[in-house]
């Protein structure tokens, strides 16, 4: 019997799993070819990628970065590679400073660059709350510094405008002590307006003639390129959030007058395309203002863009307010907080947190909308691509300029989007 063993006495060694169940093959079977329809979609996808890559890769690979004109680009390519598709990025090499700064004087490029760097210093305490709170002082100064750095001229102009806020604040404080809150707000605003209308100009003029501290002035017509987009975008973003919050609160107000103004403003602006507002700013206003008035075109555009974004912002924030349970309002009342304290401590922190994706969405949209100024003849990056194409050297160049401008915008919008995701992560307090 012992020679008739049919029971295996030794274990079989481990074998490699079948080819179809490991590594890349299994992954592909599971993810790419799990069914007939998936297989077809995969093949179509692969073909699409191949098709795009076969056109784009050589175009980028053979790109030429040093040439004086499009025809020179073509000659270089002909000599080096023969008849292949090739991008002529030489136009960027030659004109990048114009695409970034417009016609800003070249020896003053340090000023917008410095303003751009300082922008992040000013934004830092707003964006990250583990930084010293004293940095907010710089954030408050920054808008005036920005105007002075970009437009130049005497330092007393921005300072006189800044002083208006101080005047308004003191007027509000003095009136508030004697007559109460409403008088304080009204008096403060009135005092600031009186200061700006009648006193700021002469005082700035007087001071600059006595003590001429200033840097070389640059006019708005020299602003252009990506710098113009950033100026319009950043000012619009910075101003639209507070105005949007006020509008959203005003829309919920029990006071009929305030409520109707806010609703009317929001609905009017949202009902009108941005481009018509820009045409109004650039063309229609000229008929209302006296001839010869020099009301800065960039300032007009900033005002219009800000109003436009503020109306959208108000609705985004109203969405956040509507998402708060009624109990939160009642809890604030029960604690005996007044309206502004309740907003500041209980309502707004929650409503704004809920609204972050919508707010950033509006910011990104606003930033990209700045290129619409091309239609009123301002030379933003897209306007400059047209102007560059209009020179005999670069006439006929097309995609290279768009690729570069698109790349710049992508960097900005993508960073905004990533930051908003970081912020949502950080502020997540619920337990979903």
């Amino acid at each position: 019997m012992s020679d008739k063993s049919f029971v295996r006495t030794e274990m079989l060694g481990e074998q490699a799993p079948p080819l179809t169940e490991v590594g890349i093959v299994k992954w592909m079977r599971a993810n790419l070819f799990s069914s007939v329809s998936n297989s077809i979609l995969t093949l179509i996808g692969i073909y699409a990628i191949y098709y795009l890559a076969s056109h784009l890769v050589p175009w980028f690979w053979y790109s030429i970065w040093n040439a004086g004109s499009l025809s020179e680009c073509r000659e270089i390519r002909e000599a080096a590679y023969g008849d292949v598709p090739s991008a002529c990025f030489a136009v960027i090499t030659e004109r990048w400073n114009q695409l970034l700064f417009g016609f800003y004087p070249q020896h003053l490029y340090w000023r917008p660059v410095l303003a751009f760097v300082l922008l992040f210093v000013a934004l830092a305490p707003v964006l990250f709350n583990n930084l010293p709170r004293k940095m907010f002082i710089f954030s408050a100064i920054y808008p005036f510094l920005l105007v002075w750095l970009i437009w130049g001229g005497t330092i007393w102009g921005p300072m006189a405008v800044a002083a208006g806020f101080v005047v308004g604040w003191y007027a509000a404080k003095i009136l508030g002590d004697r007559f109460g809150a409403i008088a304080a707000v009204g008096g403060g605003i009135l005092a600031a307006i009186i200061w700006w209308m009648f006193l700021a100009g002469p005082i700035a003029g007087g001071l600059s003639s006595v003590l001429p501290i200033g840097i070389e002035a640059v006019t708005s017509k020299d602003l252009g390129g990506f710098m113009l987009s950033v100026i319009i975008g950043v000012t619009g973003i910075a101003l639209s959030l507070p105005i949007g919050i006020l509008l959203a609160l005003g829309r919920q107000s029990n006071l009929f007058f305030i409520k109707s103004i806010c609703v009317g403003f929001i609905e009017f602006i949202r009902g009108v395309p941005l481009i018509t507002l820009l045409f109004t700013a650039s063309l229609l206003l000229n008929y209302f203002l006296p001839p010869g008035t020099n009301f800065d075109i960039v300032l007009r555009v900033i005002i219009m863009v800000t109003l436009f974004a503020a109306a959208y912002m108000a609705e985004v924030i109203r969405g956040g307010l509507a998402a708060l349970p009624r109990g939160q309002y009642e809890a604030a009342d029960a604690l005996g907080l007044d309206y502004w304290k309740a907003q500041q401590l209980i309502i707004m922190p929650q409503a704004l947190k809920i609204s972050i994706p919508g707010i950033v969405n509006t910011f990104i949209g606003l930033f990209k909308d700045t290129v619409l100024v091309v239609f009123i003849g301002l030379l933003d990056p897209l306007g400059l691509t047209g102007a560059i194409r209009a020179t005999t050297e670069w006439n006929g160049i097309y995609w290279e300029l768009f690729v570069f401008v698109g790349f710049l915008f992508f960097i900005c919008c993508f960073s905004m989007s990533r930051y908003s995701m970081y912020l949502e992560q950080k502020l997540r307090t619920d337990h979903r």
């Binding site: 006189a160 700035a204 063309l283 203002l289 009301f295 800065d296």
Partner: protein, 338 residues
């Protein structure tokens, strides 16, 4: 600062309104610079170079007027305008002179209340096709797809032309010239139609320019010229006669090379009157005697400006054609300086 300027300006509204009616010449001289409307970019006619300096055929008109009025051809504030904004910019006083390849038409002159001060370029609408299409005349274009810029007079001219010749066409609407180049090269349309100067400039950028031809037919009249607002005839005269001075200079042989020599006085009375050594033409305009000399000194006479910006020595290579002097069989003709 800006806000105070704005509010201050608003309060001083009445004052400023009174001031502005003093006359464009005084305003320009007071400001020290000429606000001149140009295109946001058109090959050969107006474009900023790498340093932001505007140059081109229309730009030269601005510079010549600035030199005549202010004595400095660089004292120009160029205001880029689009097809939509150009007329409002001029009417509202944002610019003093519009030199933006604008076609002189009845309604623009009469209804929009502008004064065209002359013609600096006679253009006309033409067609460009691929050579291998085998078309030699626009009358053979029945059923063709045509790339056409929307909202321009070219669109209307095209419709008229095809209708009057009993032909049909398929329009491919496009927005800008750069877009049209892409569409045409990609084969989205058989024919590209726009002003002949624009077609020549576009064709010059093609890699194989020889594979494309301009058809002989010119289907419209497009006299392009600078214009000013109605109501200030002195200013219109200055712009008109500055342009005429450039044209006359070519006709009688005054160039940037011999300008200084001729300005010392010649035995040709018309040259002497033009350059201010005889008579007082400048004084009649409200300018000094050497106004025309300065205008010519900036970029040379009409022919030199033409040659430098769009002439046959440039990549655009436009022959003089209609824009030759009347003595050479063209239409460029200036009334006499007398």
């Amino acid at each position: 600062m800006k806000k105070s300027v704005f509010i201050g300006a608003l309060t001083a509204a009445g004052l400023a309104a009174g001031f502005a009616s003093a006359g464009t010449l005084e305003d320009v001289q007071a400001a020290g610079s000429l606000k001149c409307g140009v295109t946001t970019g058109l090959v050969g006619f107006a474009a900023p170079d790498a340093n932001g300096e505007w140059e081109g055929f229309d730009v030269s008109v601005c510079r010549a007027v600035a030199a005549a009025v202010l004595g400095d051809g660089t004292a120009v504030e160029f205001v880029p305008t689009t097809g939509q904004t150009r007329f409002t910019a001029l009417a509202s006083g944002e610019i003093d002179l519009l030199a933006r390849n604008t076609t002189w038409t009845f309604s623009r002159d009469v209804d929009l209340k502008f004064t065209f001060v002359g013609v600096n370029y006679y253009d006309g609408q033409g067609f460009m096709v691929r050579k291998d299409l085998g078309v030699s005349s626009a009358t053979e274009l029945d059923g063709a797809t045509v790339c056409i810029q929307t909202g321009t007079t070219t669109e209307l001219n095209l419709a008229d032309y095809f209708k009057s010749n009993n032909m049909s066409y398929e329009p491919v609407p496009i927005e800008t010239n750069a877009e049209a180049q892409q569409q045409y090269l990609a084969g989205a349309c058989d024919v590209y139609t726009t002003d002949a100067s624009g077609l020549a400039a576009t064709r010059a950028t093609f890699e194989d320019a020889d594979a494309h031809v301009l058809l002989p037919e010119i289907i419209s009249k497009e006299p392009l010229g600078p214009l000013v607002r109605h109501g200030d005839d002195q200013w219109a005269d200055i712009a008109r006669w500055t342009l005429n001075a450039l044209i006359t200079a070519e006709e009688i042989g005054v160039t940037s090379a011999n300008l200084e020599e001729m300005a010392k006085g010649t035995n040709n009375p018309e040259i002497n009157r033009l350059l201010g050594t005889e008579g007082d033409l400048g004084g009649m305009l409200g300018l000094d005697a050497e106004w025309a000399k300065r205008a010519i000194a900036v970029g040379g006479n009409y022919g030199e400006i033409y040659a430098a910006n769009i002439g046959e020595g440039t990549p655009i290579a436009l022959a003089r054609g209609l824009n030759a002097q009347w003595t050479q069989g063209g239409l460029i003709y200036s009334p006499p300086f007398r």
